[in-house]
C-alpha cells in the first residue's frame, strides 16, 4: 500500500484523505437517516435505507483503500448484493401488507 502511504501535502498521506472522505460519507449517512425516520410514507423509508446501503458500500470500499485491507471489499460486496434483498422485501411487503408474498 505504498500509494496509500504516499505523502500528498503537509505530511498527510492519501490514506488520511480517504479516511476523511469516509468520515464525510458517514456524516451524510446521519443526514439520510432523517428521511428513514421521518419519511411520511414507507416508500420514503425504503428509498432512504437503500441509499444508506449504497452509502455503506462506499464507506466500506474507502475504508478498505485507506486502511490497506483489500479484503474489506468482500464485506462491501455482501452489502451490495444483500441490500437489494432488503429493498425488495420491504417494497413487496408494502403491497397489500405482505399478502402478495
Amino acid at each position: 500500500m505504498s500509494l496509500v502511504d504516499a505523502s500528498l501535502a503537509a505530511g498527510y498521506t492519501l490514506g488520511d484523505f480517504l479516511l476523511v472522505a469516509a468520515a464525510g460519507f458517514a456524516v451524510l449517512a446521519v443526514g439520510m437517516l432523517y428521511r428513514a425516520v421521518v419519511g411520511p410514507t414507507m416508500q420514503d423509508r425504503v428509498l432512504a435505507v437503500n441509499v444508506l446501503g449504497t452509502n455503506t458500500v462506499v464507506i466500506l470500499a474507502i475504508l478498505g483503500a485507506a486502511l490497506g485491507e483489500p479484503t474489506f471489499l468482500d464485506i462491501a460486496l455482501v452489502y451490495a448484493l444483500l441490500n437489494f434483498l432488503m429493498a425488495i422485501a420491504i417494497s413487496k411487503f408494502t403491497v397489500e401488507r405482505g399478502g402478495v408474498l
Binding site: D5, G11, Y12, T13, G15, D16, L19, V20, A22, A23, A26, V27, A29, V30, L33, A36, V37, V38, M42, R45, V46, A48, V49, L52, G53, N55, T56, I59, L60, L63, G64, L67, G68, E69, T71, F72, D74, I75, V78, Y79, L82, N83, L85, M86, A89, I90, F93, T94, R97, G98, G99, L101
Partner: protein, 196 residues
C-alpha cells in the same frame, strides 16, 4: 479513547483527529438508529430503521478491523433479520398509529436511565481502544501466539476461522447444534412437523 487511538492507528500522529471524525460520525449514526428503532411507533418503520442500524454497525466493525464480524453482521442483518421480521409482521397485524414516535414511559425511562448511569460508572475501568493496558496486550504470550502460529499449525490464513474451527472446535460444534436446535424449536413453537 482519543489519545490511545493514535498508537493504534498505523498511519501516524496526524490520523488522530480524522480517526475520531469517522468514529464519531459512525457512533452518532449507530446511536441514533438504535434510539429511533426503540422510539418508532410504527413497527415496520422500526424494522426499516433497524436495517439502517446494521449498516452502521458493519462499517464500525470494519473500521476496527474485524472483517469477519462485519461480514456476519452484513449477511445476517441485511439478508436474514429484516426478512424474517417482515414475514412476522406480514403474519400478524400491524396497527395504524397517528403518532410517529412512541410516547416515553417516564418510570421505565427513569429505570433504564439509572441502569445506564450505573453501567457508565464502570466505563472508567475499561481500557481504551488500542490501549497497551488492554487485556489483549497485557498477556501477549497468549493472544499473539494465535496470530504468529496459526498458519504453521493449521495452514489457514484466516486466524478467526482457525480459532473457530480448530482451536475452539468443540465450542463451534455446540454453536452449530444450537443453530440446529433453533430450527427445531421454531417448528415446535409453531406446531409444525415440516419446514413447509
Amino acid at each position: 479513547m482519543t489519545g490511545s487511538l493514535a498508537s493504534a492507528g498505523p498511519l501516524g500522529a496526524p490520523v488522530v483527529a480524522q480517526v475520531t471524525a469517522i468514529e464519531a460520525s459512525l457512533f452518532a449514526f449507530v446511536v441514533l438508529t438504535a434510539l429511533f428503532t426503540a422510539l418508532a411507533r410504527d413497527v415496520l418503520a422500526a424494522v426499516i430503521i433497524f436495517g439502517a442500524y446494521s449498516l452502521g454497525m458493519a462499517a464500525l466493525y470494519t473500521f476496527y478491523r474485524a472483517p469477519d464480524v462485519a461480514m456476519t453482521e452484513a449477511a445476517i442483518s441485511a439478508g436474514v433479520t429484516t426478512v424474517l421480521l417482515l414475514l412476522t409482521l406480514a403474519k400478524t397485524t400491524r396497527l395504524d398509529h397517528e403518532a410517529a414516535f412512541e410516547s416515553v414511559n417516564l418510570p421505565a425511562a427513569g429505570a433504564a436511565g439509572l441502569l445506564f448511569a450505573g453501567l457508565m460508572l464502570t466505563m472508567g475501568d475499561i481500557p481504551a481502544v488500542g490501549s497497551a493496558d488492554a487485556p489483549i496486550w497485557s498477556n501477549p504470550d497468549v493472544t499473539q501466539w494465535y496470530i504468529a502460529e496459526t498458519y504453521a499449525e493449521t495452514h489457514v490464513e484466516n486466524t478467526v476461522m482457525a480459532v473457530l474451527a480448530a482451536f475452539r472446535g468443540f465450542d463451534t460444534f455446540g454453536e452449530a447444534v444450537v443453530v440446529f436446535a433453533a430450527g427445531i424449536a421454531a417448528l415446535i413453537v409453531l406446531h409444525r412437523e415440516v419446514f413447509a
